[in-house]
Symmetry: C2
Subunit: 332 residues, 2 copies
C-alpha cells in the first residue's frame, strides 16, 4: 500500500533490465532492517528509507543511478518501489536474494565479494549512522545492535556497488517474476480456477502441507523475530503435523518429525483457499493455510553459498537437500 | 606511557591557550569510550583514536585546527596528547569536564548546546562508524551499543565545534593544572615532604579517608565498569568504614553510612604514602589508600548541570552538597 500510494502521488517508477545497467553505474539497495513484527507496530511513513539513501549519497558525493531491492519478499520488495517513486530513481528488475533472508550478509552480492558498507542507517526520529566495516559479518553485527537501539527497526541504504558488480551478483528479473505471480493469482481468481494450483505453476513450487495453525511461539530477540508455528493437517494431510521454524523468514519445515524443506529453498505459507501470502509476522492461531516449497536461485546451492545461508548456519545439524529431491524422496 | 612514546617519536605537542583559539577554528575531541577495565586488556596502539579523527575530518572535508581532551583524568587526558603528537595537531589547554565522567553527554559543551555529533567511532580491527543523532543522549545510547559490539572499547572523535562554542563551554587550563599537580607531587618527593599534603594543596581538595581496600565488586555491564570498593579505616580513620560506588568513575563516597561526597565533585583515590592516583580499574584488595574530595568546576554546580551529572542522574536519591560544605558539616 505504501508503494501504491507513492506511485499514485509521485508517478510511475522506471524499471530497468539488469543488462541495460552500465558497468560504472552507481547502484544502491534500500531496505528496512529489524523484526518485521516491530515494523507493523511502527509503520513507516515512506520517507525513512529515502533518508538513508540521501545520507549515503551525501557520503559518496554521488547520486544513485539505480535502486535495487535487497530481497524479493515481504516489505523489502516494495519499499524500494516507494523510494524509487518518491526520489525519482530508476529501479532495476532484480534483487540480491531471489527470496528473503534475515541477515545482511545473506545476499548474492556477498557471494561475489561486494561489501555491504559503506552503508547508512536512519530511524524515524532523525538519528542517522554511516558504517564502514571490515567485512559483511561485522556490518550485520554492528547494524543489528544499532537497530535494537533504534527501537527494533532501522531504514538502511546498503551494498553500494557499480553496475559490473551488480550484474556479477544479482538475481535477475525478480520483480517481473513477482508481477507474474500476482497476475497468475488474479487471473485464476477471475476464471474461477484454483489459486493454489496457479501459484504452484507460477513459482515451480511443491505443495508440502495443508493445515490449520494450532500454535505460534514468537520472541522478538536480538533484533529478530524468532519462533515456531505448529500446524495440524487438513484434507489429504489429515493426521499429519507440520512445524515451521523461523527467524524473520521460514527456515525449516518439519513434517511428522522429518525435515522436508530448509533454507535456502523457500518455505512459503499462504491462505489455503485464496493462496494469499502469510509472512511470519502474520502467522496466527486458526488460520487455514497451505505450505509450499519453492527451489531457490541456483546461486545459493554451491557449497560456499550454503555456508552463508544453509541449514547449518542457522543451527540445524542437517545437510541441505534441494526441495525437488526432498519431494521425490518423500514420494518414494 | 603512550603519550610519552608518541612525543619522543613524533616530537613535542604545541599547546595553545583557550583565548588564542579563533572563533571559526574547527575543534575536535578524541577519546576512548568503554569500560576502562577492557582498555587495560586491549591496550591501544596509539593509532586508533587517530583513525577516528581522520574519519571525522574526512566526513567534514576539513582538517581539525585543534584537538582537545574531552575529560581531565584517566586515559582520556593523555590519548589526545598522543594523537596530537602523531598527527601534528595543536592541543588546547582545556577540556570538557575538568574531571572524568562516564557518559558522552556529561561534558560542559553539552551544557551550552554543542552537539556530540557528527561523531566517528573506530575499533582496532578497522571498523568505523559515523553517527549523527537528534541529541546527545541518543549519541550516548547508540555509541554505547556499538562500543559493546566493538568488544568493549571504541575510539572516538566527538563534539566537533567552532572556537566560539569551545570558549563558551570549555573548562580552561586543565592541562596546566594536571601538570602543576604532577610537579607538586614530584617536588614534594624530592624535598622529602608529604606527597598527600602536596596533593591536597595543589588540588584544593579535602582528605575524606585513609584506609585499606578490603573488597572490590566489579561488573563490566552495558559498556561500563560498575562496582563498589569497601575500605577499612587506618590511622585517624581507624574504626571507620568507607564505601565508594563507581561507574567507570567514582560517583559517591559513603562513610559509616553517610554520603560525604558525590558527583559532580571529584572523589579521588590515591596511594596513601605516594599519593599516586588509583583509577577505578586499578582498585584492588589490600591497597592502602587515601581518598580525597575535590571541588568540581563551578559550571557543574548549576541546577541544569546537576540534572546531567548530579547524584540523582546516577540513581542516588540525595541532594548534591558541595564538598566544601559537606566537609564543614562533618567537622561541626
Amino acid at each position: 500500500m505504501m508503494a501504491i500510494q507513492a506511485v499514485e502521488r509521485y508517478g510511475p517508477v522506471e524499471v530497468v533490465d539488469p543488462e541495460d545497467v552500465d558497468n560504472d553505474a552507481f547502484v544502491v539497495s534500500v531496505a528496512g532492517m529489524g523484526a518485521p513484527v516491530v515494523m507493523i507496530e511502527k509503520l513507516p511513513s515512506g520517507r525513512e528509507a529515502g533518508e538513508a539513501l540521501l545520507s549515503l549519497e551525501k557520503y559518496f558525493g554521488r547520486r544513485a543511478d539505480y535502486l535495487i531491492s535487497i530481497e524479493a519478499g515481504g516489505m523489502n520488495s516494495t519499499i524500494p518501489i516507494a523510494t524509487a517513486a518518491r526520489f525519482k530513481r530508476p529501479l532495476i528488475d532484480g534483487d540480491g536474494m531471489g527470496r528473503a533472508f534475515p541477515e545482511l550478509q545473506m545476499v548474492t552480492f556477498h557471494l561475489v565479494g561486494v561489501k555491504a558498507t559503506p552503508m547508512s542507517m536512519a530511524d524515524e526520529k532523525g538519528n542517522s549512522v554511516i558504517l564502514d566495516t571490515v567485512d559483511n559479518f561485522w556490518a550485520e553485527r554492528i547494524a543489528r545492535a544499532i537497530t535494537v537501539k533504534f527501537g527494533g527497526v532501522a531504514w538502511i541504504a546498503i551494498y553500494p556497488m557499480n553496475g559490473r558488480q551488480f550484474k556479477a551478483g544479482a538475481v535477475r528479473h525478480s520483480l517481473s517474476k513477482e508481477i507474474s505471480i500476482g497476475r497468475a493469482l488474479r487471473e485464476a481468481k477471475a476464471r474461477g480456477a484454483n489459486p493454489l494450483d496457479a501459484l504452484l505453476d507460477a513459482t515451480g513450487g511443491f505443495l508440502l502441507f495443508k493445515g490449520k495453525i494450532v500454535d505460534v511461539l514468537r520472541r522478538a530477540t536480538g533484533g529478530f523475530a524468532r519462533g515456531e508455528a505448529r500446524l495440524e493437517g487438513l484434507e489429504e494431510f489429515k493426521g499429519s503435523e507440520l512445524a515451521i521454524r523461523f527467524q524473520n523468514e521460514n527456515l525449516v519445515a518439519i513434517r511428522d518429525g522429518t525435515v522436508i524443506a530448509s533454507v535456502p529453498d523457500l518455505i512459503t505459507v499462504v491462505e489455503k483457499d485464496s493462496a494469499k501470502p502469510i509472512t511470519t509476522e502474520r502467522l496466527k492461531y486458526g488460520l487455514r493455510v497451505a505450505v509450499i516449497g519453492i527451489p531457490c536461485d541456483p546461486k545459493w546451492r554451491t557449497p560456499e553459498a550454503l555456508k552463508v545461508v544453509g541449514p547449518r548456519y542457522f543451527g540445524y545439524d542437517i545437510d541441505y537437500v534441494p526441495i525437488e529431491e526432498a519431494v521425490k524422496r518423500l514420494g518414494a
